[in-house]
Amino acid sequence: MHRPTPLSFDVAGAPLDAPAPDVWRATPFRALWRDGAARAALCLLVALMLVAVFAPWLAPYDPGAQPDIIRLQYQPPSAAHPFGTDPYSRDVLSRMMYGTRVSLSIAILAMLLSTFIGTAYGLLAALGGRFTDAMLMRGVDTFLAIPRILLLLGVVALWGELSVKALIVVIGLSGWFAAARLVRTLVLGLRERDFVTAARGLGAHTSFIAVRHILPHLASPILVAATFGVGAALVIEAGLSFLGFGVAEPQASWGNILREGQDRPLGAWWLSVVPGAALVITVLAVNVIADRLRDIASGRHLPRG
């Protein structure tokens, strides 16, 4: 029977003069906005992005400035330094703002990279024939068996210190296996659909069918997976930086601010609490959005009946 695609909304029997529903833009985001938690999460993320973009104008201090490393180190939060200072007397609020820039861009760009690779790889596996599929997917199984952070630590150990660009690439390259598997599974189902056979029967090339007929049906599951992927990449970056293998000093990221606090977890609590809270809240917000998007994609927000 006819199954509606994830993001489409059936309005069977709509009159001729009704405007075609703008399935791809307005509807899912409108539905997201109607949900209280998702709306709060969206607002938070937009605010964070604004902070990231405008950090140079918003930050009260230069994030690298060390005004007095003896007398101003480990200053608790005060009017002059709302989030206190770190062991090098740098202003934590300013460093957090610049860190938002680094952490968010690493997470988002790494997610884009892994989504792109995962989607292409999954499509290739599902449409490339049985042998290609078996070969490609055994590779994915192998890498999925290794915990991501372990894989990354191995790579970082080989390479030594990584630039931000290299970090994006490395985190992105370590995160596409699950996406590839998801896409492959979905495409294996989609390629049996009648409209795919119909397109083939009318002379379309496989790559044309993949891009035009199959990819649009993957949009919503990929969007959901990619959103979860941002959260995962944030945590991975913070973890690597905390361990000293991620973003290198003096550049700030949430993870290496957290690292400054590890010597005095109780004495200089703000060094752990501020970046820690930022991470928890942001990852939570990202996951709330991903979770709601998933509900929307499966039509669960629609009225029953």
Binding site: V11, L16, P21, A198, L202, H205
Partner: protein, 345 residues
């Protein structure tokens, strides 16, 4: 088993299918879905192909466009001659030039054969763009013209609609438009009316007939409905167990059906001049294609089976001019007379 012996000389044929065999490897063994099917279609002719589910009709249709995918395989010794070339020996690129342009297919389910995320105009225009590399605007224009041609009112507006906004009959018209926009020489219509209401069925058949006449194309009409065949086709192939069991002109088939299976199908057809309370059925089901019985494949369900049908596999025997039947009764006139006498009682 069966030597290809086309009745129509193949020079005149638009398409000449010779000894087509298609097998699928399944966990239960090799499923020989189509097992030595030969037929021809003349330009402009409508050939009906009838049979119940699982007899190999759809697989035959898909094979003509080489749409069989692993684990299915077309026997490399089969031949499908079309416009002077063997379709089974074309490169992937060449067969794509045939699909949709020279031979097109209309599928059974208008609900699922259209992609729900594109407008119907886009989907017709796509075919033009794939084959002609036409501009978006020109292809769209062709799509709108085609929608008008298949009888949709206000085609320019309909073209901008999504499949779910159209009724089943309209969707089937769109699918026909997609198939015919390149003016193919052969249209394969696989159960084009099965999913539709009876009144809509008649409209779609009428549309197909009209377009066939105007475009001068040949049609292979695949159906399980002899009524549809009677209305539309000029010649019929009756399929059973992956084989053709009877081949005749429509008039001949309805007047003098020879094969017991065809007779069973005709007896199972409701008629307006018939006052029976219950319709006749053919007992049993089609044997699985992984294990065709040796001998006659209809034997288990045939009221006239005798020991010879278990030992030997019947050929397509000539009954009359352009009428053939895969039944030993052709060769044993005395037994046939007895059967006819028995039926008359």
């Amino acid at each position: 088993m069966t030597a290809p012996s086309p009745i129509t000389p193949s020079q005149d044929a638009l398409i000449d299918v010779q000894n087509l065999r298609v097998a699928f490897s399944t966990p239960a063994g090799l499923a020989r879905a189509v097992d030595g099917v030969s037929f021809t279609i003349a330009p402009g002719e409508t050939l009906g192909m009838v049979g119940e589910s699982g007899c190999g009709k759809t697989v035959t249709g898909l094979s003509l466009l080489r749409l069989i995918e692993p684990p299915g395989l077309i026997d490399p010794t089969s031949r499908i001659l079309f416009e002077g070339r063997d379709l089974l020996r074309l490169s992937e690129r060449e067969i794509r030039r045939v699909r949709g342009r020279r031979i097109a297919m209309v599928f059974q389910e208008p609900m699922t054969a259209l992609n729900p995320v594109f407008t119907v105009g886009d989907q017709i225009a796509e075919v033009v763009r794939v084959h002609e590399g036409a501009t978006r605007r020109a292809a769209w224009q062709r799509a709108v013209e085609m929608l008008e041609r298949v009888g949709l009112s206000s085609p320019a507006d309909r073209a901008k609609q999504y499949p779910h906004q159209l009724s089943g009959g309209m969707r089937q018209r769109v699918l026909i438009g997609m198939a015919l926009v390149m003016r193919p020489a052969l249209l394969i219509a696989d159960e084009p009316t099965t999913a539709l209401d009876v009144t809509v069925q008649a409209q779609i058949l009428e549309l197909l007939r009209e377009l066939q006449r105007d475009f001068g194309m040949a049609v292979l009409l695949i159906t399980h409905d002899l009524g549809v065949i009677a209305e539309t086709a000029s010649r019929v192939l009756v399929m059973y167990g992956g084989e053709i069991v009877e081949e005749a002109s429509v008039d001949e088939l309805f007047a003098n059906a020879h094969h017991p299976y065809t007779q069973g199908l005709l007896a199972a057809m409701p008629r307006v001049d018939d006052r029976r309370e219950r319709l006749t059925t053919i007992p049993g089901t089609v044997p699985p294609p992984t294990a065709w019985p040796s001998g006659c494949r209809f034997r288990d369900r045939c009221p006239h089976a005798w020991d010879r049908t278990a030992r030997e596999h019947p050929d397509l025997f000539v009954v009359a001019d352009s009428h053939r039947s895969r039944c030993f009764l052709v060769q044993e006139p005395e037994r046939r007379r007895a059967v006819v006498a028995e039926q008359a009682e």
